[in-house]
Each structure stands twice: as structure tokens, then as C-alpha cells.
Amino acid sequence: MIPISWYLLLSATLFCLGVVGFLIKRNIITVFMSIELMLNGVNLSFVTFAHMWHLVKGQIFVFFVMVVAAAEAAVGLAIIIAIFRARATLAVDRIDLMKL
């Protein structure tokens, strides 16, 4: 028997840790993992709200988020492989062709 708000706080903390990882990490694969962490944080709050209001659609939304995350991971990792082939580095500091 614990308050719903604890789950929501955990979800917000996970999301913010994901954003911090996105900002501080210098390896492009780890940056991508931080994005997955953010998605997971949001998924937890979806499940919590679905449980709170006894609605099934919140869980179905999480299902769709998972599908989109799988597609995103496949395409994103293919892009990372293509970048590595072209520039032979994974450090985001060195991939700065579009920087002003």
C-alpha cells in the first residue's frame, strides 16, 4: 500500500537522469541509451496513470511507445554504424560538420 505519487516521482527522476545523461555523455551510443532511459521513465508514468484510473488505453499507449522505440533503435543504430564508417569515431565532439 504505497502512494501513487512515489511511482510518478520515480518516473520523473528517471526522465531527468536521462536528460542529464544526454547532456554529459560524449559517446554517441551512450547518448542513445539516455534517450531510451527517458522513454522508459515516461512509460512508467503511463502505466501508473493507467493503474490509477483503471484504464486499459494507457497500457496500450506504452505498447505503442515500445514499438516506436524498437523502430527508433534499429534505425538509430544503423545511422551510428554509417557515421562510424564515414568518420571512424563515436565521440560526438568530433561529429560537428553541421556546427556553425
Binding site: 501513487i4 516521482l9 545523461g21 560524449r26 559517446n27 541509451m33 522505440a69 544503423a78 554504424i81
Partner: protein, 184 residues
């Protein structure tokens, strides 16, 4: 019981997320992300989402993380170098994310009537879930299958273009005709 499970797996979740940020080698970060996702699956079970808990283990901790580990292995990613991040991230990013976290926490803590969760709450059965998914939301479900198909084609086209064949590096390598030539 619920409290103990929540504290253990919520703590594991946070510890894994922190470890992801602190580790300098991508493979260690990937393995801590597996810990985060598996403990999130237990939290989903506590909230009565049994199908999502299974899907979380299979899709996230299984498929997606295998993809990550595979790419780390394929690209032979070493320890990341410690460089100074961008100044914009330090000056704007961290205060902004602290403010966002503070605002969300304030809103959540001030909200009335959020209620409690206990293990006696009814769980959402897979039957119930699939009834809504395949009756009301059939069209979005089919659209996601098209999305997955496009993602597969895109991943294959991106990862295969120009591997060891200099002649394949044409500007049209991503078009269907170029792809067909690659696949021969």
C-alpha cells in the same frame, strides 16, 4: 510487501540509471540499462500490467539491448574520452533540468486524490488489453506494423550502403533501385 518490493526495485532502477551516467565504458552503461529495464518490468507487475512486464523484458531488455550490445561490440567502442562538454549544456541545460524536476515534483506532491496502489488491485489481463487493441485501435496497430517495416528497410539500407564496395557509393544508394543492386 508492496513497499519492500517498490523500494528494492525502485532503488535498483535509480542505481542503474546513475551507474549508466557514471560509467565511462559503453558496455557497462548498456548492462546498467538492462538492470533499469528489468526492474521497471517488476514495477509494471506491481501496477498490475502483466502483459507490459513481459513485453518490457522481451522487447526492451531482450531485443533492443541485444542490438545495443551488438553495436558496441561491432564498432569496438572503447572508453569515452573525458572532454569538456558544451558550455550551453552547463549554463542552460543543468539549471533547466533542475527546474523541470522541481516543478514536476511540486506538482506531483501537491496533487490531491492520487490514491494509493496495493497488491490487491485488479490486474489488467492480456485478454482485456487485446480486446481494446484489436477492436478500437486496430488501425493504429496496423500502422505500427507498416512503421516497423519501413524501419527495417531503412536500417538495412543505412547499414549496408557502401560496405566494402566503392562502386555502391552512388548518390542513389538509398533508393529502391540502389538497394536492389546492393542485395544481388
Amino acid at each position: 510487501m508492496h513497499l519492500i518490493l517498490f523500494v528494492v526495485f525502485g532503488g535498483l532502477c535509480l542505481a542503474g540509471a546513475l551507474n549508466l551516467l557514471l560509467q565511462r565504458h559503453p558496455i557497462n552503461s548498456a548492462l546498467s540499462l538492462v538492470v533499469v529495464m528489468s526492474s521497471l518490468a517488476v514495477l509494471y507487475l506491481l501496477l498490475g500490467a502483466e502483459f507490459l512486464a513481459a513485453a518490457q523484458i522481451i522487447v526492451y531488455a531482450g531485443a533492443i539491448m541485444v542490438l545495443f550490445v551488438f553495436v558496441v561490440m561491432l564498432l569496438n567502442a572503447g572508453r569515452e574520452e573525458r572532454t569538456m562538454g558544451s558550455r550551453a549544456a552547463k549554463v542552460v541545460g543543468f539549471p533547466a533540468i533542475a527546474v523541470v524536476l522541481a516543478v514536476i515534483a511540486t506538482v506531483i506532491l501537491k496533487a490531491q486524490g492520487l490514491g494509493t496502489a496495493s497488491l490487491n488491485d485488479p490486474i489488467t489481463s492480456t485478454e482485456e488489453l487485446s480486446r481494446v487493441l484489436f477492436h478500437e485501435l486496430l488501425l493504429p496497430f496496423e500502422v505500427t506494423s507498416v512503421l516497423i517495416l519501413i524501419a527495417i528497410l531503412g536500417a538495412v539500407a543505412l547499414a549496408r550502403s557502401g560496405d566494402g564496395h566503392p562502386t555502391n557509393k552512388t548518390p542513389f544508394a538509398g533508393t529502391p533501385t540502389g538497394e536492389r543492386r546492393v542485395s544481388k
